[in-house]
Subunit: 226 residues, 2 copies
DNA sequence: CATGGATGGATAGTGCCAGTCTCCAATCAG
DNA sequence: CTGATTGGAGACTGGCACTATCCATCCATG
């Protein structure tokens, strides 16, 4: 259950230094339960190992690159840990838990829920996504976003499923690749990989899109006539 | 320069009600300069028009859907306004200004900058993006993200340009569509449209990606064996 | 015409978040 | 031996995005 450390144990200070994080922050994460406690060797000495270091690095990555709030990190850590304990869920269960921990709570359905849901259905059909997904929390998240989009329709946002097609196609392309890239790891590492991928490559996609827009504007409007 | 209002003027309270925002918040935006002042009609009466309403709605959308911090909204507003005044930039100029206001400041290059830059070059070549882009702020943003990705390479993140290909392809697909969808509006509206699109469809892309991952996990791992 | 409830404007205060600081007694390293 | 570190608990900070409170008008209504 507890994997055997293969390297020399670290003190809190060393741990902090190794991850390039202030000691105070590490203490804070410990307090918040984001980082499991070290094995206490005396009143003033506790041992941490490379699993702590990996966890700490993960936490920092998610905070710095992904701006993931500490509260959501806690949910994520919960998913990570009760995976270790409880194996009743398959890989999909872990992934689902982790993914929805990252996504956070979904706003309640509003007045446009119906239309949003129908639109979501059209979009999913566009790329042949499974109908079972309608029960997933991700579906609810999609519905929520589509509601906002619909609310803005009257102000000029295009919203027909054909207007949105490129987004689903792009998402499907990326998602297919993401899942294919998941190695055949044990569920915990798999979850880590998924989360990191979602956050880091999410940022990547964002900046690539912006750069792409810059390129295509250049093509359409010509170089700046300063 | 100042477009003529076509509807009856609003008082601050009416403006707030129309946008479903607390009056206090509107006052706050006024203070922060996010919203231009109304035309003062007496000590206790100022008139606002539908341009104020549109602006206010835009601000709320960006904050609520996009989590855009108020500071960046200020930059955005600056881009919006000095577009009105100063026409020396073409459409591209406006778009660039708005886009980088949204993106925020780019972190300084680190030790991996060289490799990141080379990688960025390979990615751009993959989809035939213009070389001039190397000078754009978006390029620097891409470099910054790639640096983080590279920093995580040793911990298992794949990073070869072939691994990243799907992301660029998807980004190009979306960006091409985004730019094509920009109407032939005057520059200010164009900028608004770009910004809204970047934020709203950015969220959309995010949730679609998650849903797509759920679908493809389902395909790969089968339904949950609860 | 009086008057109660806005309104514009200025200033101060709130709640939350993510750390950071300060102490402390215990203990380790030189 | 002794000065620096450590783990641990608590209080404190700074930034952000609002809210709340005041106040001197002012306007709309009866």
């Amino acid at each position: 259950m507890v994997s055997t450390p293969t390297t020399a144990p670290l003190t809190l200070g060393e741990l902090a230094r190794a991850a390039e994080v202030p000691v105070g922050t590490v203490k804070y994460y410990l307090r918040e339960g984001l980082l499991p406690e070290g094995r206490l060797r005396s009143t003033t000495r506790a041992d941490y190992d490379e699993t702590h270091l990996a966890r700490l690095r993960l936490l920092r990555l998610l905070r710095e690159v992904g701006d993931v709030p500490v509260g959501r990190l806690r949910d994520l850590v919960a998913a990570l840990e009760d995976e270790g304990a409880d194996r009743t869920h398959g890989s999909l269960g872990v992934l689902a838990a982790g993914s929805s921990a990252l996504a956070g709570p979904v706003p309640a359905p509003g007045p446009l829920a119906e239309r949003a849901d129908a639109l979501a259905g059209e979009l999913a059909a566009e790329v042949g996504w499974d109908d079972q997904l309608r029960a997933a929390p991700e579906w609810a998240a999609l519905r929520a976003v589509l509601e906002t989009v619909l609310a803005w329709e009257r102000l000029g946002l295009p919203v027909a499923s054909t207007d949105l097609r490129p987004y689903v196609v792009a998402a499907d392309l990326v998602a297919r690749h993401d899942v294919a890239a998941l190695g055949d790891l044990d569920p915990t590492d798999l979850l880590t990989q998924l989360v990191v991928g979602q956050v880091v490559y999410g940022r990547l996609l964002e900046v690539l899109r912006r750069l792409g827009e810059a390129h295509h504007s250049l093509v359409r409007y010509g170089p700046p006539d300063h």
